[in-house]
């Protein structure tokens, strides 16, 4: 007969094994693997073929080849009339340009430049290169590029470019570039284009717009975005400019819609008059150090972050969501807002100036706005819808194509995991029409009745349709 001790030991062993079993027991977990889906370009109108492609290959030749093949897949014309080419900052732009020119047998007009180091997007997806900007060292080997090819009998394109160092001023260089673009389209300078697409390098955007407007006037919409950094470059016809401008002109009888806006909440009471500036830096607001005033508007958040975190990029990311803006009001009461991204001129906060990427003049009133990454993301997703609305185009109409310029600063506020939704959002609003967009370090756009402006934390989007 089993002794009491043996019985107890057996009982404990059984319970111990049970506990061990339950402790080690692995639970089955649901693992979802996404099905592969293929997005193909939709031909909206006869006589116009639009394709998009992208690549994240490190080798520039292979990347261009992959993107071009994707864009031209199923297309009748293998040599497009026009190509928009954006590559993430840090890419070998010369190789990209010459590979594309070679593939297109020098017969395609190429416009474009660098996008932000993080990504470029098309209707076919978010071509991610890096997660964060400003960290060039971590960009090594991580590249992305996107291309849009257009062949059309109804839309005429011309491209032009100029290096700033080749001309006495940025304005002059820009004048030459836009003039060349019009000529490249086979038009005379009197024949104004329906729209101008512009990609200048960083820091002289206002001068570029001035130069363009000298040729096409203030009533021709100029939509574009500053090249993305941290290294900048634009494509010329046979050259890559690190300081220059690349632009394209569009001639067509099709309907166009565009939008140039920020999408921030304007219902913030903080406002002041800029009383002293130094280039792109605001030195004083209401005759007080600009940083003091701005930090007051933010409840001392800049000082707190500077003390506690001390990283300038963290402060910049916060300030992206609290830009300042200027108002432009027409006689009919319609108001446009032009945003600027401010940040402390000095990371140690000793210099009390606030830097922007725009040239705000002394005497201009500035206002504080506020945004969240959610509202900004929605705004990006709605760009085609608003562009249609601005162009008087019904929301249900599928455009032939769309071209977008999205602020890289805004992109930076959107969590990494959410960024890949952007193409889907735009596709839905754009009725799945082909589009291409780059992430820019400054945006240019047209305020009807006011003229073309340069700002920050904005997005501009142009779409073309054969219908109203």
């Amino acid at each position: 007969m089993m002794s009491t001790k043996k019985f107890l030991i057996a009982l404990l062993i059984v319970m111990g094994f049970s506990l061990s079993f339950f402790s080690r027991c692995e639970s089955e977990e649901l693992k979802l693997v996404p099905k592969k889906r293929v997005v193909s370009d939709v031909q909206v109108v006869a006589g116009t073929e639009v394709g998009t492609g992208w690549s994240t290959k490190e080798n520039p030749e292979e990347a261009v080849k992959q993107a071009v093949e994707m864009a031209l897949e199923g297309k009748k014309h293998k040599i497009p009339d026009f190509a928009i080419l954006f590559a993430s900052s840090g890419s070998d732009m010369k190789s990209i340009l010459f590979t594309a020119k070679k593939m297109f047998q020098n017969r395609t007009k190429i416009y474009g430049g660098t996008s932000d180091s993080r990504a470029v997007i098309t209707n076919k997806g978010y071509a991610k290169a890096t997660q964060r900007a400003y960290q060039y060292a971590k960009m090594e080997g991580k590249r992305s590029l996107a291309i849009m090819t257009i062949t059309s009998k109804d839309i005429l394109f011309g491209v032009g470019s100029a290096g700033f160092s080749d001309y006495p001023s940025v304005q002059k260089a820009s004048e030459v570039a836009i003039s060349n673009a019009i000529k490249n389209a086979g038009k005379s300078l009197d024949d104004l284009p329906r729209a101008v697409l512009v990609t200048p390098t960083h820091g002289v955007e206002e001068e570029v717009i001035e130069g363009i407007e000298k040729v096409v006037g203030q009533n021709t919409p100029v939509l574009g975005g500053t090249t993305g950094g941290p290294t900048f470059a634009v494509f010329g016809e046979n050259k890559v400019y690190e300081k220059g401008v690349s632009l394209a002109v569009i001639y067509t009888n099709f309907t166009m819609g565009w939008i140039f806006e920020g999408g921030f909440d304007l219902k913030v009471p903080s406002t002041g008059i800029v009383t002293k500036v130094d280039g792109q830096a605001i030195v004083e607001i209401d005759k007080r150090p600009a940083l003091d005033v701005y930090d007051e508007w933010l409840g001392g958040e800049i000082r707190r972050l500077s003390k506690e975190v001390g990283k300038s990029d963290v402060i910049r990311d916060l300030l992206v969501l609290h830009p300042i803006y200027r108002k432009y009001t027409l006689s009919d009461g319609k108001t446009y807002t032009l945003f600027s991204h401010p940040w402390p001129k000095d990371d140690t906060l000793k210099d009390r100036s606030v830097m922007t990427s725009t040239k705000i003049k002394a005497g201009e009133r500035i206002y504080l706005s506020r945004g969240t990454w959610g509202t900004l993301m929605n705004r990006i997703g709605n760009l085609p819808r608003i562009a249609k609305s601005e162009g008087g185009i019904d929301a249900s109409i599928r455009p032939i194509f769309g071209i977008g310029y999205i602020c890289a600063g805004v992109l930076g506020t959107i969590p990494e995991t959410e960024r890949e939704k952007l193409p889907s959002l735009i596709n839905y609003a754009n009725n799945n029409a082909p589009f291409i967009a780059n992430f820019t370090w400054g945006e240019q756009g047209y305020f009807r009745g006011i003229g073309n402006k340069h700002g920050n934390l904005l997005s501009s989007f142009l779409l073309v349709t054969d219908k109203r």
Partner: protein
């Protein structure tokens, strides 16, 4: 099983059963509550976000921030905004956008219900499907959540409940163990002491200091041990005396059980029969008797002989024959008596008193005295059998018989030579019948075992031999 074990196990097992049941039901309740809490939590989140999505749809603002928070929520698997055709319009993971819900969950459809919950306990997930009220389109918000939390909580609950149960069991078991040890220790001591008394060791005493019934019992036991110790020597001496008597007996002593099994034999029996004691004890009594063709009345353990034994209680001096181990036949004078218990209560017969036939106690029958017991006071313990070896006596009797026979024969012979013998007064011939005369030597030889040898006595030698020799000499000389 010992008293301690019996008591310990009989208390512990119900405790284990009760603890197990309580643990089981508590665990089930807690697991059910945990699952319900998780479902309710996710259902609330889903409802809230569904409303936000509905509002956002019209304002062209998806609630990305709240959806992002959802995706960071513990147990989150996915959220999808699904079009009426099942295409995923938006998803937390953009790679799912544009694919179809049927690719992942073919059995789940949005249906007509405003809110539906699909649980898969095998794969530990739940899916909440909310129809979105956004005009004419029938979009739905899918929210998948992992039930791993429930599964883990389940394991945690089972683990904790088991630990608690185990702890309770160990604590209770330990308390019970020591309590039982404490209470059964005097009983064990009593048992040990009783066993020692059984071995005639009366020196041991039970040390119980309690004043309860066990203490009283221990006191009584100790007093009994003292008394037994006093009488122990007397008992030993008495036993030795009895043993000496039995061992010194010149006759064979066999004690037979009521079933006919040999229970005891004395040394004389063993030496007489040639068996070792352990060879013969336990065997049936029939093993030592020679089978004989006798009348039942003469059989001691059979028929009327057995009945007679039971009736009289004693049967004396039956001449029987033992059969030794090596087959020798040993005549014995066999006596037996019934040995009864001291109980005076009359015992009813166990069976019919009719003697069994033919299986009998001596022939290997198994009925024995059981079937023949009469209503007599005291239960039969056995039959005491005493046998005297009468081999020598038998042998002497045989010799005596033979001698008598020879004498009788001789006497018959002597009688023939008696009476009047007509003898010739000259030739000494005896007349045998009317006209036949027979020389006396041949007659005696014929009628006795005497044989004559012829010789010459000195007188006749002188008278006849010498005279003849002288005659011959004379003739020779002549």
């Amino acid at each position: 099983m010992k008293l301690f074990q019996k008591t310990f196990v009989s208390v512990l097992i119900p405790f284990v059963v009760v603890i197990s049941f309580v643990s089981y039901f508590v665990s089930i309740k807690q697991i059910s509550d945990a699952e319900r809490n998780v479902i309710e939590e996710h259902r609330t989140i889903s409802r809230f976000l569904s409303k936000e999505i509905e509002v956002g749809y019209f304002e062209l603002k998806w609630p990305f921030e709240n959806l992002k928070q959802l995706s960071q929520h513990e147990g989150f698997l996915f959220w999808w905004i699904v079009r009426d055709d099942g295409t995923i319009h938006l998803a937390d993971n953009a790679t799912f956008i544009g694919t179809h819900t049927k690719d992942y969950f073919p059995d789940i459809t949005s249906g007509e219900e405003t809110e539906a919950v699909f649980l898969n306990r095998k794969q530990n997930y739940g899916i909440f499907v909310h129809l979105l009220e956004i005009g004419n389109v029938k979009w739905a918000f899918w929210h998948g959540c992992s039930m791993i939390e429930v599964s883990n909580r389940k394991k945690e609950i089972i683990f904790l409940t088991s630990i608690l149960s185990l702890s309770a069991l160990v604590i209770f078991g330990s308390v019970l163990y020591f309590a039982m040890k404490h209470f059964t220790k005097p009983i064990k001591q009593l048992s040990v002491s009783a066993a020692m008394i059984g071995k005639w060791d009366f020196t041991n005493r039970v040390e119980v200091k309690s004043r309860d019934e066990l203490g009283e019992l221990a006191d009584s036991f100790n007093k009994m041990a003292v008394e037994l110790e006093k009488t122990g020597d007397e008992l030993v001496a008495a036993k030795e005396y009895t043993d000496n008597i039995v061992n010194s007996m010149m006759n064979s002593l066999i004690v037979v059980s009521p079933e006919g099994k040999i229970q005891y034999v004395n040394p004389v029996t063993c030496s007489l029969l040639g068996y070792e004691k352990n060879e013969i004890v336990g065997q049936h009594i029939g093993i030592i008797f020679e089978e004989e063709e006798e009348e039942e009345e003469e059989e001691p353990f059979k028929g009327s002989g057995l009945a007679n034994l039971i009736k009289k209680g004693v049967v004396n001096n039956l001449e029987k024959t033992y059969l030794s181990k090596d087959g020798r036949k040993i005549p014995v004078l066999f006596s037996m008596s019934i040995m009864r218990e001291k109980d005076n209560t009359p015992q009813p017969p166990l069976l019919d008193i009719t003697p069994p036939s033919p299986p009998l106690i001596l022939r290997g029958g198994r009925e024995g005295l059981r079937g023949s017991e009469e209503v007599l006071p005291g239960k039969i313990q056995g039959i005491v059998c005493v046998a005297q070896n009468i081999t020598e006596r038998k042998r002497a009797e045989e010799a005596q018989k033979k001698l008598i026979h020879e004498l009788e024969d001789a006497l018959s012979q002597v009688k023939q030579l008696k009476g009047l013998l007509p003898i010739c007064m000259y030739c000494k011939k005896i007349r045998k019948d009317e006209n036949y005369w027979q020389a006396v030597e041949s007659y005696i030889t014929e009628h006795s075992e005497a044989i004559f040898s012829h010789g010459v006595c000195p007188e006749c030698e002188k008278k006849y031999i010498h005279s003849q020799l002288e005659e011959l000499d004379r003739r020779g000389k002549s």
